[in-house]
């Protein structure tokens, strides 16, 4: 399987933050969710990969090319959180701008998507709601035959109905094995619905890169008391957290844990619980 997107050893330092040798891949035909708390380094990773900020070290390969030239940029659609276009423009005017920017701009697809999303053609973007702006940005990203879609917190702040519409579009997009998506979000429930792989970044480092099914179907949380916790084998524990009335212990194989600790309550772990235990738990 080829990779649509790959970063290896990506490093960028700021005064108070370091993106520390981040490496992960987006296999072709898949959706990869980049998760992590605010300030973990998700946007810095995307910005460094797209050449918005200079990288100090590391390698970036997009659609098999290390140089991010115009040909590669023709084939990637990027959607950032919030506003993406001058708000004085209307969707129709934006079409006139975009058709001179992208050689592969497809007016028919663009207006089709505007119609599908019930977006007005001639209303200035400043009069759009956040959801409408996001739908417009996604319509534009889909209208130049992108092979790779990169969404940076694109669904943040949207209501569940709009988010669901957008997630459906993303799922449709990757039906063709040629298309891939990298989506950064701290709304892990969205990624549970659509992602094939999850990359977890914490304090500028990749904590894990795993298939989503492995996380949701194999990982588990042992909920136990102090005595049971003391009896746990340390090698089974990924991380743990002491709550008010119980201990929560993250394990990588909940079925094995249930067999081994038959008296303990072992429950499936949601991605946000895994994230919380990695970030707030002890090891």
């Amino acid at each position: 399987m080829t990779n649509a997107f790959m970063v290896s050893g990506l490093t960028k330092s700021y005064q108070d933050f370091v993106l520390d040798h981040v490496s992960f891949t987006v296999p072709s035909g898949s959706i990869v969710g980049l998760i992590g708390e605010n300030g973990a380094g998700k946007s810095t990773t995307i910005n460094a990969a797209l050449g918005l900020v200079g990288k100090e070290d590391g390698m970036v390969s997009i659609l098999g090319r290390e140089e991010l030239d115009g040909d590669v940029k023709e084939q990637i659609g990027v959607v950032f959180d919030g506003s993406n276009y001058p708000e004085i423009l209307s969707p129709r005017k934006l079409n006139r701008v975009m058709k001179y920017i992208y050689r592969t701009w497809d007016e028919q697809t663009y207006f089709g998507l505007l119609k599908q999303f019930s977006l007005p053609y001639d209303k200035p973007i400043r009069q759009f709601s956040k959801g409408m702006k996001m739908k417009l940005a996604i319509s534009a990203a889909f209208s130049h035959h992108s092979r790779l879609l990169i969404l940076d917190e694109a669904t943040s702040g949207l209501d569940p109905v709009v988010r669901d519409d957008i997630l459906d579009m993303l799922l449709d997009f990757v039906q063709d094995e040629e298309h891939s998506i990298l989506v950064s979000s701290h709304i892990t429930s969205d990624l549970e619905k659509i992602a094939d792989y999850i990359v977890f970044i914490h304090e500028g480092k990749v904590v894990f890169e795993k298939p989503k099914d492995e996380l949701t179907e194999r990982y588990g949380i042992i909920k136990c008391g102090a005595a049971q916790f003391d009896a746990l084998d340390q090698s089974d524990i990924i991380s743990y957290r002491k709550m008010d009335y119980e201990w929560q212990v993250l394990v990588s194989d909940r079925e094995r844990a249930q067999k081994k600790y038959s008296k303990a309550l072992v429950v499936p772990a949601a991605i946000d619980e895994i994230m919380l235990l990695y970030v707030k738990g002890e090891k």
């Binding site: 918005l52 940029k73 023709e74 993406n84 276009y85 920017i101």
Partner: protein, 209 residues
Amino acid sequence: MKGVLVKDLYIAKSNILVTIVSLVVLGFGLSFLLETSALLVLAPVASTTAAFISITSDAASKWNKNVITMPVSRGQIIGEKFLFYILLAALGLVTALVPCVVLACFGGDVTFYSLCLYGSIGISACLLAGGISLPCAYLFDPEKSQIVFMMSFMASTGIIAGLVLLINLVFPVKENILLAFGIVLGISVIWFFISYRVAVKIYQKRDIA
């Protein structure tokens, strides 16, 4: 580059219309007080404000970030802004010529000599100011850039005065005014081109997040 220019024209459209109307009205109004062709000094500078409106709009709407992900190079983005600036200055100049030509047809006090003189002063001031403020717009944050933008016009008049004094050391400016301001215009063009190269270098290295 064409798409980015179309975007800037959309952003500046209302501002351009206001500038055109103001210049025409001012031109006819000035004819009662001074030489109408003096409007050519003001027109190019006044009309280029739209370029800064587009730069601040790009930053506010995060277009400056989004456009980097499109098949447009950083050099092209800067090149477009400088081209847009020149187009606006040219538009201002042409607009200011309208009342001059109309008044000349009706026997007004407009000569080819005065048009050349005031035109070269206006374009020189415009290019010198743009040469200062455009690279600064990509070097500083929007607030500082606006201060630089306002100060650049004062600086440009100071530079023109300085250049004229220097030229006066070589030959008497009073007897060769048009030649002196022609030299100032030439220096301004070179300054603007160097400024463009500097702005491209600044922008190539700039982090946009």
